[in-house]
Subunit: 571 residues, 2 copies
């Protein structure tokens, strides 16, 4: 029979079919044989510095590419990746976590192998994975392996969350049937429930009758696979459109009717008034964590909201189950596209952003920095703002078309954004290959966060990615300082010489000298930003900007002032 | 009532009572209020660069000190630490993992908080911890909190493994009863089972009648709390004594009858012959993983062995349950101490170590490096050899009295040893405070492993610890190369400039210049080792030595040659 294929080739063929171009991970005793097949399968192998970084990078790659793969080794490797997998779960990034496990005979005989607790138990780590992945499977024989692989990959796509695949070290080379490979893996359509027509009719009715309708795009819209439809909806209706923190970058901010982030009482007053008096809020992909919803204040009231989420649509307080939001949205668009009766122009005045008030002698600070760097972002670029002051400041960037941005949504694991930047930049480069386009990826990160995962800069260098890393050096965990313990030493971090990063992490000596920058004043920052190497350079560049330890804005300033008031009261 | 105390003070008082001097961890939203109490309680706070490093450091501290504490935050922090906690479980290090969790009202109301999956579930991460900790508890009210704390601390001591303690963010300041604090926490004595006398009699009989008895000290002897008794036994009997990889450093290698590591067919032939023909092998704290037992070849045969482990003693094939090995050993010593009839001198010839054959023009290599550096170790020093070639080479060091060493036992998570070094050095400095003694800690680590956790060097610098880091630069994961894929690119790592480490990680400029060294030849290495700054310096020093990509010895050489043979056969 010619219809057989080696197991590893089967798996990697499936990954290629689903658009995966690179695989992240770290080699380990129980995955080396699997790794032999990665490059021959036409996949690029990204060896990361450690597994947490690899998981973060796979997450970033998936957010841009739609799917990613991570290979770790049993126990030591997979557990190091756990927090990264949990991050992908919380923020809906489909990552195939492939764990190379000890060969089957060792497991069957309960051998006391290394990377176990030397007690014959082999099921512990898979049991742990059930809590942070959407589905799990363990390959154990050649008969069932292909179906198991197909099932687990489909689960990742359906849930848009990580899944867990155990692959014993004695299996990469075994033959399995290749028959399935002729049928692509797809998310199946759900049947139309009886109430679908009624739901659509209610929505259409509300859309036509609305006097002051708005659109709210939250981040789970990505997982719903409706971004193109949303673009059509926004263009068709011309309704004022906002995003959440999580949804930012999923809509085209260059349209006149797109306002960027909705921040309720933490944003501008006219927007808040308009949003709160809307009689219809079409809401997509809601994700109502405290951090993504400004403590719940941005959540639309039931009376105005029609909400599209995974398998439900909610109209006022009626929750309709077993829906396909994508199909309902498509049906809605068929009815209203090119129908000018749905158009509602107007909306609150847009906030103008200017930098003319910023003097060259001003020190770089939260209230000027983001405005000054915003112009360097180009169409299709990626901007990542790490949890901390960067994520708060980066929320109000005006994004060019097709630009994507990641901020602090819900998981908020500091250290995440740096490896995520590696993965996102790599995915973008691969997606650009057909068009020949080139993009910049910019990471803005604090001096506390960067200490968590800094070594991954060396992989960015090795991969020759065009990444600008802007380090906000404010001497510690400023975000924690404003939450609690603003003068406590536990919020300090060790002193690092960030301008030595490229040197330590192995960039060419000439590159190091020409691509490391610092700025303390706005004049210096303006000068640096004019440098072509900074805004459109090659390879990794470092820009360190100094800010005050307690320099914060928005909700963080609110928390800081609250803490200061409590100090005065002697609490 | 004056008999009340704040919860955090209760916990930290208990830790102080049990000899904990420093606490490791990373601040996070849900533990900041707890951190307020650390320093006022007289504990030193070590803020680590990330949670995995913190867990590794806590493990190292515990191996020297006997107990340690780690504080992380809910979800993001604790999951990052998971692999470090698992390491402590596998190799029996009691670490109190304290997780700051969201305030109780948020949990009760299933609020969609950050650091959760925004689905109202708060039990996931605690469920994961059940697989990698010996006991778990969640503080939830003031009535039961003190007993729960006492119980969890006792469990850590009993099992000599990590435990998991959830402490809600609204509880550090609540009052609890201080009554328990008057009673120290101890490991309770187990009752003597009926068969204890018979067991002791059988052992005594065998001890007197043995013609060629030997002692084997494995690593779980530390968890059994019998190290002082073992020292007496070794001195009393003068029997030839070996250790496992895990047991190395637990016995005084300066005694004439102590031979160091027993490696069966991977060690010297006379030792193997002597060990295998012994008619009695008193075996303590066995831990028979493949890596700690040279694929099982060092495990004594049942016919000769009497084995002391947790709660059992095995004589030939008879396993006696419910024993206290420490009590039986104490009773044995009472009977045989000062009784010359148990003395058996002799044993195989000791292998002499010489460096006179090493030429100054020789390149530094596995077969000369360990012999050349061995003389710099002093009494009470700590030597850590990271998984990889370093761990294999370091097994044959001749250790000075009271020196401790950690090598590759079972968990073998690369990256572990560097933060472990931080924790071990800190514990040693604290233990030395009373005597005023000073010790060096030396880490030997490969260029692959160091990339996993390198940032912790900055914490070593901040803590002003006297640590020599020797980096074996052999251009990648040499240990993985010899296992599989010796020419595969996945075993490469990014190029780093290790001599820039102290500079990047913030050491004083003068210190950087005077404490960074390299050696390519044995002559250079000899010269460097003469430098007082290297062998007895202050602060962190870096020594980079270059070795060949495939330079290995012992079992690793065996694996390499096997792979080369397979390549020839075209496998």
């Amino acid at each position: 029979m010619t219809d057989n294929i080696k197991l590893a080739d089967y798996l990697f063929t499936r990954l290629r079919q689903l658009g995966v171009g690179s695989v992240f991970g770290v080699p380990g005793d129980y995955n080396l044989r699997l790794l032999d097949y990665v490059v021959p399968a036409g996949l690029h192998w990204v060896g990361n510095c450690n597994e947490l970084n690899a998981a973060y990078a796979a997450d970033g790659y998936s957010r841009i590419n739609g799917l990613s793969a991570l290979i770790t080794t049993f126990g030591v490797g997979e557990l190091s990746a756990a927090n990264g997998i949990a991050c992908a779960y919380a923020e809906r990034s489909p990552v195939i976590h492939i764990v190379g496990t000890p060969p089957r005979p060792l497991r069957t005989s309960r051998a006391l192998m290394h990377h176990t607790f030397a007690d014959g138990e082999y099921g512990r780590f898979a049991a742990m994975a059930t809590h942070i992945t959407a589905a799990q499977t363990a390959l154990a024989d050649t008969l069932t392996a292909p179906d198991k692989i197909d099932w687990i990959l489909q689960q990742a796509l359906i849930h848009s969350r990580p899944v867990y695949l155990e692959l014993p070290d004695d299996m990469p080379g075994v033959l399995v049937s290749a028959a399935n490979l002729k049928t692509p893996i797809r998310i199946p359509e759900v049947p139309s429930p009886d109430h679908e027509e009624q739901v659509l009719a209610r929505i259409v009715d509300r859309v036509y009758s609305a006097k002051q309708p708005v659109i709210l795009v939250d981040g789970e819209s990505r997982a719903l696979g409706i971004l193109d439809q949303l673009d059509t909806l926004i263009k068709t209706t011309k309704w004022p459109t906002w995003t959440s923190v999580y949804g930012k970058g999923l809509v085209n901010e260059s349209y006149d009717n797109v306002y960027g982030l909705y921040a309720a009482g933490f944003g501008d007053e006219p927007s808040k008034e308009y949003f709160e008096s809307a009689d219809l809020i079409l809401t997509f992909g809601p994700h109502y964590s405290d951090t993504n919803s400004y403590f719940g204040t941005t959540i639309p009231k039931d009376a105005a909201a029609i909400t599209f989420k995974d398998s439900t649509i909610q109209i006022e307080s009626d929750v309709y189950q077993d829906m396909s939001p994508a199909r309902v949205l498509a049906d809605l668009l068929k009815k209203i596209e090119n129908d000018s009766r749905v158009v509602r122009q107007g909306g609150p005045p847009k906030q103008e952003v200017t930098t003319s008030d910023i003097k060259d002698t001003d020190v770089v600070a939260q209230n000027n920095f983001y405005r000054l760097i915003n112009p360097i972002f180009g169409e299709g670029d990626i901007i990542l703002t790490e949890t901390g002051t960067a994520a708060y400041g980066g929320r109000f960037f005006k994004l060019p078309p097709k630009a994507r941005t990641f901020g602090a949504v819900t998981w908020l694991s500091i250290g995440f954004m740096l490896p995520c930047t590696l993965g996102a930049a790599l995915a973008k480069r691969e997606l650009n290959q057909a068009s020949g386009a080139s993009n910049q990826t910019t990471l803005i990160i604090g001096d506390g966060s960067i200490q968590m995962t800094a070594q991954e800069i060396s992989v960015m260098i090795k991969e020759k990615l065009n990444i600008l890393i802007i380090i906000i050096n404010n001497e510690g965990y400023t975000i924690e300082r404003v939450i609690h313990g603003r003068k406590q030493a536990y919020n300090d971090v060790p002193f690092w010489r960030h301008t030595q990063a490229l040197n330590y992490f192995g960039a060419d000596e000439e590159h190091v000298a020409q691509n490391t920058f610092t700025a303390r004043t706005c004049g210096e920052l303006r000068e640096v930003l004019k440098n072509e190497r900074v805004h459109s350079g090659q390879g990794v560049r470092i820009l360190e900007v100094m800010m005050d330890r307690e320099d914060v804005e928005g909700p963080l300033l609110y928390l800081l002032n609250k803490q200061k008031a409590e100090e005065k009261e002697g609490k």
